[in-house]
Symmetry: D2
Subunit: 341 residues, 4 copies
Amino acid sequence: MDFSSDTSAPAHPAVIDALARVNSGMEGSYGNDSVTARVRKLLAQTFETDDFDMWMCASGTASNALALALLCPPTGAILCHAEAHIERDERGAPEFFTGGGKLALLKGDAARIDEQALRKALASIQRDFVHETPAHALSLTNLTECGTAYPTEQIKHYAALAHESGLTVHLDGARFGNALASTGASPAQMSWQAGVDILTFGLTKTGAIGCEIILLFGKSRAKFAELQARAKRSGHMPPKMRYLAAQAEAMLTGELWLTLAKTANAQATRLANALSAQPDVSLRYPVDGNEVFIALPDALAEKLQKAGAKFYSWPGDCYRFVCAWSTTEAEIDALVDVVAG
Amino acid sequence: MDFSSDTSAPAHPAVIDALARVNSGMEGSYGNDSVTARVRKLLAQTFETDDFDMWMCASGTASNALALALLCPPTGAILCHAEAHIERDERGAPEFFTGGGKLALLKGDAARIDEQALRKALASIQRDFVHETPAHALSLTNLTECGTAYPTEQIKHYAALAHESGLTVHLDGARFGNALASTGASPAQMSWQAGVDILTFGLTKTGAIGCEIILLFGKSRAKFAELQARAKRSGHMPPKMRYLAAQAEAMLTGELWLTLAKTANAQATRLANALSAQPDVSLRYPVDGNEVFIALPDALAEKLQKAGAKFYSWPGDCYRFVCAWSTTEAEIDALVDVVAG
Amino acid sequence: MDFSSDTSAPAHPAVIDALARVNSGMEGSYGNDSVTARVRKLLAQTFETDDFDMWMCASGTASNALALALLCPPTGAILCHAEAHIERDERGAPEFFTGGGKLALLKGDAARIDEQALRKALASIQRDFVHETPAHALSLTNLTECGTAYPTEQIKHYAALAHESGLTVHLDGARFGNALASTGASPAQMSWQAGVDILTFGLTKTGAIGCEIILLFGKSRAKFAELQARAKRSGHMPPKMRYLAAQAEAMLTGELWLTLAKTANAQATRLANALSAQPDVSLRYPVDGNEVFIALPDALAEKLQKAGAKFYSWPGDCYRFVCAWSTTEAEIDALVDVVAG
Amino acid sequence: MDFSSDTSAPAHPAVIDALARVNSGMEGSYGNDSVTARVRKLLAQTFETDDFDMWMCASGTASNALALALLCPPTGAILCHAEAHIERDERGAPEFFTGGGKLALLKGDAARIDEQALRKALASIQRDFVHETPAHALSLTNLTECGTAYPTEQIKHYAALAHESGLTVHLDGARFGNALASTGASPAQMSWQAGVDILTFGLTKTGAIGCEIILLFGKSRAKFAELQARAKRSGHMPPKMRYLAAQAEAMLTGELWLTLAKTANAQATRLANALSAQPDVSLRYPVDGNEVFIALPDALAEKLQKAGAKFYSWPGDCYRFVCAWSTTEAEIDALVDVVAG
């Protein structure tokens, strides 16, 4: 009954198998290997396009920060939600990688940016007013930090607004699979077709060891050489890239990543349903993915913890339960039994 | 017959096995896992001390840059050899991580800093002369970029000189095992006992997938919280740390890393001997580890390449051959046959 | 009738006279001159202490950013008001000088930080939680960006709260004289006696050409060598320092700066009184210094502009009128005539 | 007899007069003033072109660093002489402003880059080799740090070589007037006509208080908005710009700056001639401007110092004597008397 985090879960066995499979013979370093070449092909299929460049990175924080450094100069700002991971949980990585760019924080319920807030921020940009820091990029997160999903149409709409104002669009997809599973959108629909310029496509929380893919679509591909240079100097150009690639290959093959995301989502829904059937329990946010934010009576929370359940108390007077690909029905049942018993 | 790089080699099977072994159940994130705890104990044995802190990092470039950022402020400089990896091959990582610190380059044969050059640089530091950038740290590399080794006594001597001038000492040990195998020193002798404040202890080139360990000894431990913060913001705090730890555990258990380093060194020696027995062939530098820098007649180089041997031409009118843990006697024999045939 | 900005005003003639007076003979460079030595003595009198170090800088933006870089590491954050000059009007200077530190924005009426917001921010700091960026400094502004003044007691109280939580305190005193003139506090009372660790003491808006003084009090003096190094590398160590010093000397001698601040404040009060006596006119914020933020009917604003009055429309549906040391009664009278006529 | 530095000299009286003259009435802030507009016209005449943008800055260090930040990204390098001011005397300003770019140091006699060294550096650039830091700009200095001058033809030749390799060209002209006076070239000939993309045109050492002008020629004008943003965030956008402009106006009017540079050069020549006529005295470098580097017998140096002469001992076993616009024939005569007496 460990619902503390999807990063506490093990990797899917197929990932380990893939590592073993690629572990023989010499391969080119720094991405010049045959496994990486195969991953590129799998990505083309997954995203239904060839108009992209990609870089694999073990770290979600670095993937976001590298992407943002391509889109925002040191003298610029990035629009994001006030609760975005890049603002709250990355210890200043965007500021570090951009060379001192700023995050401009927007409000909105359930960690989704409010449209009026976005419009106001875009309208207030004065690119020629040297004293203020003009926004150069919009960073969205899907799933959001509250476990909610933007529908594809909203991403498309926000991206269009951003582009009209001369901004580029980054999507932090640390839980991209969960958002797709929840909304029914395809990878292409929720990324380049929606106007996303750079996607951080996360596979770590979905079931890899540590593998995120930075995808540059369309015009942003012009930044690929710069991305490589920045990856190199920040220590995100592993010499033995084949092992990152093997993780990606395992996850992309047969859409394993989506299957795992669906499983995690389904378990979260079951957990949410079971808990919210109890008296004085209320969901803090809609459960659009694998995370449940829920207000529990103190007695119930204690009872669960005594029974060995692991979960975090969270800002906003609630608790967070996270399901992973490895969360079993038995675990949910056990939790339900404690609640009921 | 692929001698292009030790980073083109696969990981040792024990490393993959270790990944599989730790791949079950939930574990704390960001280093709060049981595997990391075991690695700490193995390191205490390996380095014969408990007076250290450690951080694991998949990247050698980042490990060096993080270490240097602890030792040198943005307003300071780092003394290193003009051919050091941190100067030549890391795309400005030290400058990036330190926030604009400088590398001050020293000369010396075979990528080993010349004592007079070091003494002169130390003597010229004017800490109170605000216009110049005073050195705060000395960074040594062992094995050096030319495949040579500093004897432990020389490191100790240089570290003492540096400390006398108020500098701290970093050792880039990307090929630390090869240097130990070559010199016969123990890990403790070549690190904290020699006066090294921070060691970048590399296991990637030795046989891991991607695993370096930053070791803070003695007084430098006061910087551990800063190290964690800098690791976090640069994307070098993997949530699923257990998989980095598993690599380290596999390598440290039973001194596998040293065994592998010895193997690679031995193959390099055989290769060097075989090649240098040929006419018009001369070693550019002593072979103190797993790298052979050697001048070959054009005809011989072409002959080898035609036979399928892989190796790089190198600055200084020579070629570089690198042996890995996985280099076999058969490969060396095959090379020798081509040479002889 | 130019009320556009106190930075559009000329320098006080005494400042020009002082430049002429020091303009003979050779002087030491970079602050090693006799004029700078005299300024130090004047500052000791002005602030009633010898326990300080000081650096003169032509730029207010740089003075703030240099001060903040001493108080906040790249991995830390600075608490400030959401409308603070360092956030809104300095194009990312704090992020640049700190090497990627963050500003954490607090709310509060009239650009004064709300006590509950401050307490909440301080209480939420988790120094050992590596993912978040902990605040290291509190930056206050007096006069604030809305022309209001913190009373000395409030600064003292906020500084005490900050210190209890392990933060240091910066005061942006671009209009320090105006705040003193308004509150009746002495320079000492509103700075080191109130717990301010570093003060940016502005003389530019008060009547100099361009002269701000960074004052390090008490413990923060340990950072003086670092301040000099950072000033040097950011281009804020003028070789001919005597001319900055001459400005400071002219302003500090006989408390000219306070006299000029009082004049500017008095004119602003007259202007505010005259305008607010009109129908449908309301002050947006209390007039505690030399700035008037006021809501005017469109017709009145147009009438004034047609008559040649200069002032800016301002966020919050109001207009900003600024008085300088050089604003004359005749100008106010002329404005009043237009309003009345 | 103070030959310590041209930055120890006072400003020319015309500069102070100009400050007094512009010191009345309101003026636009941040460069939107009438004086700045006049300076632009004077620069167009001085440089015989309208195809430029310009920014005034009180600091030479900042002017160089701002210029370099426009020409070199954080991932790139700047070629310069190993003794260049930007390397030796600016405390890491280029690294700070570029966000961690590198300086790649070239050799050459008398602080002039050797052509073979330059050609070798250019030839070794591998723009697609991500591990190394490719050069993006060449920075020349005229006068050099050894008081020697590059002839215009050499600058033109070097700039052409740099451009062929895809680099841009910066000229550090802290003593630009002295170099022109020495070589007889016109400002246009030694800057844009020679292929210089950005010139740091120094007037401080020539006789201003603190006034350097960054001139963007031709294609580099596309970077002007970025220059303003970087100037703002580094504290080099003075609100009361008219006083910087007044200095420039005074110096440019009637070519005062060139007259003053010629005077300083002439005094240096007299000084050099007088000293080098003595036994055992030898000029270390040709005297192409206002600086004399000269080896003196210890007894002579002591004799001069005892007589009150001020000058610095310098690396390379010599002494540096600097003449300023204000150095008088009487001072040289007095020195000569001491030498002779």
